[in-house]
């Protein structure tokens, strides 16, 4: 079973409330259309950094949930972040991995190990509080709202198909510095 990433994002959008979201790569275009002006910042220009960016936000803002939309190829670039996140123990961090087994934006070359790579076992071994794999949309609909209240860090490997759009086929993305500036203003301004 595999879920359409756009369907997964719709579920997240319906339940995330004021959670900060960190999309990366193939989830970027669809998320931008669904949630254009919100507490989100896309990981653009430093592939592999979504989990670390999410960790920093989670540590700075323990009162908010932070949801990272990672990719399997992206996470492999900074796999050590699993241990760093587990060591920092952010109770408010949800790390979602959109697993499709390929580098979608560059032409769908298989990632090292392809779909065999078991990220759930890696996250569990690193010390995440909760780890799970979900390949069914109905199960994700049931499970995601609970993640928003459970103690983190939570890691969920989501078995997904390819997204309809990628940052290469839809180039309307906003540069990272502009997204980051807006998010900082919102986060700090919310306390003014």
């Amino acid at each position: 079973m595999a879920m359409k990433p756009e369907d997964v994002l719709k579920v997240i959008a319906a339940h995330r409330g004021e959670a900060i979201c960190v999309p990366t790569m193939t989830t970027g275009p669809a998320w931008r259309e669904m949630q254009p002006e919100d507490f989100s910042v896309g990981c653009v220009g430093f592939m592999g950094g979504a989990s670390s960016l999410g960790l920093g936000l989670a540590l700075a803002r323990p009162e908010r949930r932070v949801v990272v939309f990672d990719g399997d190829g992206s996470l492999l670039m900074q796999l050590g972040s699993l241990a760093t996140i587990a060591g920092a123990r952010p109770r408010n961090l949800i790390h979602l991995l959109f697993k499709n087994g390929v580098y979608h934006t560059s032409g769908s070359q298989e990632i090292p190990g392809g779909l065999v790579v078991d990220f759930v076992t890696m996250a569990k071994g690193a010390g995440y509080k909760t780890t799970l794999q979900i390949g069914d949309l109905e199960e994700f609909k049931r499970r995601f709202p609970k993640m928003l209240t459970e103690e983190g860090p939570i890691f969920a490997e989501l078995i997904t198909t390819l997204a309809d759009k990628t940052p290469m086929t839809d180039r309307r993305g906003v540069p990272f510095d502009q997204q980051a500036g807006k998010l900082r203003e919102k986060l700090l301004g919310a306390q003014r």
């Binding site: 950094g49 670390s52 301004g189």
Partner: protein, 186 residues
């Protein structure tokens, strides 16, 4: 001749830096986030600064997070900054070399202020770093120059004032700035 800097001096400078950063945030009209810490250290443990790291272990007011890589440290710093938290990176020159793409993408292109304290492990006391026989010492300043990252050397106890100064500079220019720790701290 360069001199080693005692860890307590560095710790005091870090505390002053964090206090100033929070005051600056308030002066800009923002309310500081509710945090139990003055500020954050993101460290990929550096042998050169090990006495400072040991002293930080005993500090309740500064939170240290050990990172697996310098790429992570730089990007975690971005997240903390977006949330309003002051942060300093403590790494080694080799880690700077390993993470220049993240420095470029996150701090330079992303316009995120990131302040580095970089240990010059193996720097010879009687030589200028540019004349070191160790490439990892020799190339640190030229690399920072190539990326137009402002930097200064901490060559003794009288230089600790450069820590808040270069931290402030990173905020002002919305990008990276660094100080290089010349000799192993005591």
């Amino acid at each position: 001749m360069p001199e080693s800097i005692p860890a307590p001096l560095v710790i005091d400078a870090l505390k002053d830096t964090f206090k100033e950063a929070r005051a600056a945030l308030a002066a800009e009209g923002w309310r500081n986030p509710t945090s139990p810490y003055l500020g954050w250290i993101l460290s990929v443990p550096d042998t050169h600064q090990k006495t400072v790291l040991a002293a930080l272990d005993k500090e309740d007011t500064i939170k240290t997070v050990t990172c697996a890589t310098e790429d992570e440290a730089c990007t975690i710093a971005a997240g903390l900054h977006l949330g309003g938290e002051p942060v300093v990176l403590m790494i080694q020159h080799a880690g700077l070399y390993a993470s220049v793409n993240t420095l470029r993408g996150v701090s330079m292109d992303g316009k995120i202020p990131v302040f580095y304290m970089i240990g010059l492990l193996s720097r010879e006391k009687d030589k200028d770093p540019k004349e070191s026989r160790h490439s990892m010492v020799r190339f640190a300043e030229p690399l920072l120059d190539t990326f137009s990252v402002p930097h200064a050397r901490l060559e003794g106890p009288n230089d600790v004032h450069l820590i808040p100064e270069y931290y402030r500079l990173s905020r002002q220019r919305k990008g990276p700035a660094a100080v290089l720790v010349g000799l192993e701290t005591t």
